[in-house]
Subunit: 107 residues, 2 copies
Amino acid sequence: MSKAIFKLHAEIFRVLSNPLRHEIFHRLAEREMTVSELVEACDAKKSNVSQHLSLLSTYKLVESRKEGKNVYFSVSYPELAQACQLIDTILKDQLRKDYNLFEGGVV
Amino acid sequence: MSKAIFKLHAEIFRVLSNPLRHEIFHRLAEREMTVSELVEACDAKKSNVSQHLSLLSTYKLVESRKEGKNVYFSVSYPELAQACQLIDTILKDQLRKDYNLFEGGVV
DNA sequence: TTAATAGTTTAATAATTATTAAACTATAGG
DNA sequence: CCTATAGTTTAATAATTATTAAACTATTAA
C-alpha cells in the first residue's frame, strides 16, 4: 500500500475531523436538509456551514440539489455514513470508560 | 446528540487524519511493531514517528509494551481498526472513479 | 564505565485550517 | 422593479498542527 493511498484515506478522515463538519455529516446521514436547517440544527454561522458543505462536496461525501431558493444536501454514500456511525458507536461504547481526558464523563 | 459528543468523535477522526499517523495505525492493525520497524516501514523520522505514536496513545488507539531496548506498539481496539479498514475499503471501491482530484488515478 | 542502540522530549519554524464579517449571486413574491 | 430570503464567495485573522533538529533518558553489551 503506497504513501499516496494513505494520504488519500487520511484526507477523508480529515474532512470528518472538524467537529462542525462531523456534525453536519452526521445530521445529513439521518435525513436530507437545507443549508438553513443545518445552520439552525448546528447553531452555526451560515457562511461557515456553507464552506464546510463545500468541502464535503469536494470530497463527494455529500451531494446537493437545488429547489427554488433552497439547496438540499444529503450524504452521497450511505455505506460510508454507516461506517462512520459504526466508528462513532465503537467510540461511544469502548472509549467512554477511558476518557477522563474529556472533561468528566461527557459521553 | 450533543456538541461535546460530535467534538469527541471528530477528535478521533482528527487523530487518523494525518497521513503518517494513518499509515502507522494501518500498519499496526496488521501486526505489532517496534518504533524502529515503523520508522523503516514508513520511511519517516524517528522523532516524528514517536510523536505520532504518542498522540495515538493519548487517544488510546494504540498501546505499547517495553522489552529491553525496544518498545512494541499495537492497536488497542481491533474493532476500531477494522472499522477504519472498512472505511478505507469503501473509499477504495467507491471513490476511485471520482478522484481525478487526485493526480491521475493514484488509487 | 564507555559506547552504541532505541526511543522520547523540547523548542522552533513552517504549513494548514477554521472562523468571521462583508460583499456577492440567485430566486420568489409583492 | 424592489425587497426579502437562501446561499456562496472572498479575504483577513486567529488558531492548530506538523516537521525538524538537537538534547535527553534508558538499556545492553563490550
